[in-house]
């Protein structure tokens, strides 16, 4: 950082004008006073300032966007005081919980037994599946994603409920009609406000 400038050249004045424009209030403080003295005595510098004023004025024709009261209200309303639950949420909290859980040796034994059982089960099912037996694709879909798919008992519509920036998506598992509609209906993304 430059604390004090004792000498300034027309070249440097030109650089300052090129970068910050004609309004010397925008110029770096350490150089401003000396630059103003230089400009007062230099017709070349004054000419550069006049040229830069044109672009500044053109930029100033763009109006300043105003703060929307609706946005302010929404931001104020978004305030949620921190709670113990909030503090424990998030990735680090989850990792801490997982870490303390895995430190318990009996849990390790249970997990190992469960994995062993799963492996054995898959192996046995492959050996004993009769030839010609097919697997129902719809059943597979439903069985493979219980955490993110929630089956609606009335309509047969499966709701994919993802949080965060993903929109809610409705997937109809009913047979398609062939009218060009692919059966996927996407709800509009819920605006933040």
């Amino acid at each position: 950082m430059v604390d004090q400038i004792e000498v300034i050249s027309l070249d440097r004045i030109g650089q300052l004008i090129d970068a910050y424009g004609a309004n010397t209030d925008r110029w770096p403080t350490p150089e401003r006073d000396l630059a103003l003295v230089f400009i007062a005595t230099s017709s070349n510098a004054q000419r550069l300032i006049e040229e830069a004023k044109k672009l500044d004025e053109e930029l100033n024709t763009l109006p300043q966007p105003k703060l929307s009261p609706r946005l302010k209200r929404a931001v104020l309303d978004a305030f949620t005081p921190p709670t113990t639950a909030n503090e424990n949420s998030g990735t680090i909290g989850a990792l801490k919980s997982w870490s303390s859980w895995t430190n318990l040796s009996w849990h390790k034994s249970v997990a190992a037994a469960a994995i062993f059982g799963l492996v054995c089960g898959v192996g046995i099912s492959q050996v004993f599946t009769p030839a010609g037996t097919t697997v129902n694709a719809q059943q597979t879909t439903q069985a493979s994603g219980p955490e993110i798919f929630e089956q609606s008992p009335q309509s047969g519509i499966t709701q994919l409920a993802l949080t965060g920036e993903f929109p809610t998506v409705l997937v109809d598992l009913e047979p398609q009609t062939g009218d060009g509609d692919d059966g996927v209906e996407e709800e509009p993304a819920i605006p933040l406000i």
Binding site: L16, D18, A19, T29, P63, P65, S68, K72, A78, T80
Partner: protein
């Protein structure tokens, strides 16, 4: 809930945390992390308009800029308890977050600045004429055509009053590099606006 009165930039909490005079952002953030709504109101009053304005200049779209501003403040609320007073300013942090969000928005939306409807002007403003809207559209389009870093530098310095040093910190570059960005940005703007010089004559 704490209430707050603001007069000429002074703040007074009315729950025995009485502080006359200017309250620093760091103190307000500590209060926010303790659940003080009044401190949140002061921070919002102090910074929301500038963040929203910046996003509007960068994105050229009021709706998107409001999304960015709101998301920026939600992130602030979540991070308030981790804030440590240091060299970084809250203003700089907010603009950094808003800038990243603007870049994400641009990447997702692929908004063409030429096709975006101009909505920065207030239609209820008596000074808003067709001619003025045309000129503002030309400038907005020219600004929208700049590369992101040049546009950010121009908006921060020309419209938001950032110093070269503050802009350098936000962009993680040197002051000399900021001046180079500004100079190139202004040169590009001049070239884009040159064919419209006659239209600007009446505005001077």
């Amino acid at each position: 809930m704490n209430r707050v009165a603001t007069e000429n930039g002074t703040v007074k909490f009315q729950n025995n945390i009485v502080t006359d005079g200017f309250v620093s952002d760091a103190i307000l953030l500590a209060q926010i992390s303790s659940g003080n709504m009044a401190a949140w109101e002061v921070i919002v009053d102090r910074h929301l308009a500038a963040v929203s304005r910046y996003a509007a200049y960068i994105l050229g779209d009021i709706g998107q800029s409001e999304d960015v501003a709101q998301e920026t403040f939600i992130r602030l609320m979540k991070k308030a308890h981790t804030w440590e007073p240091g060299d970084a300013t809250l203003k700089g942090w907010l603009f950094k977050v808003a800038r990243n969000l603007c870049i994400d928005h641009k990447r997702k939306k692929r908004t063409d600045p030429i096709e975006t409807a101009y909505d920065l002007l207030d239609p209820n403003d008596n000074n808003t004429t067709d001619r003025r809207i045309d000129i503002a559209n030309i400038v907005k389009t020219a600004l929208g055509l700049l590369p992101e870093r040049q546009k950010t530098a121009i908006v921060l310095v020309h419209y938001e009053g950032f110093s070269g040093a503050e802009t350098a910190e936000l962009l993680d570059i040197s002051v000399e590099a900021v001046e180079s960005l500004l100079a190139r940005g202004r040169r590009n703007l001049r070239q884009t606006l040159q064919p419209h010089a006659i239209e600007f004559l009446g505005e001077r």
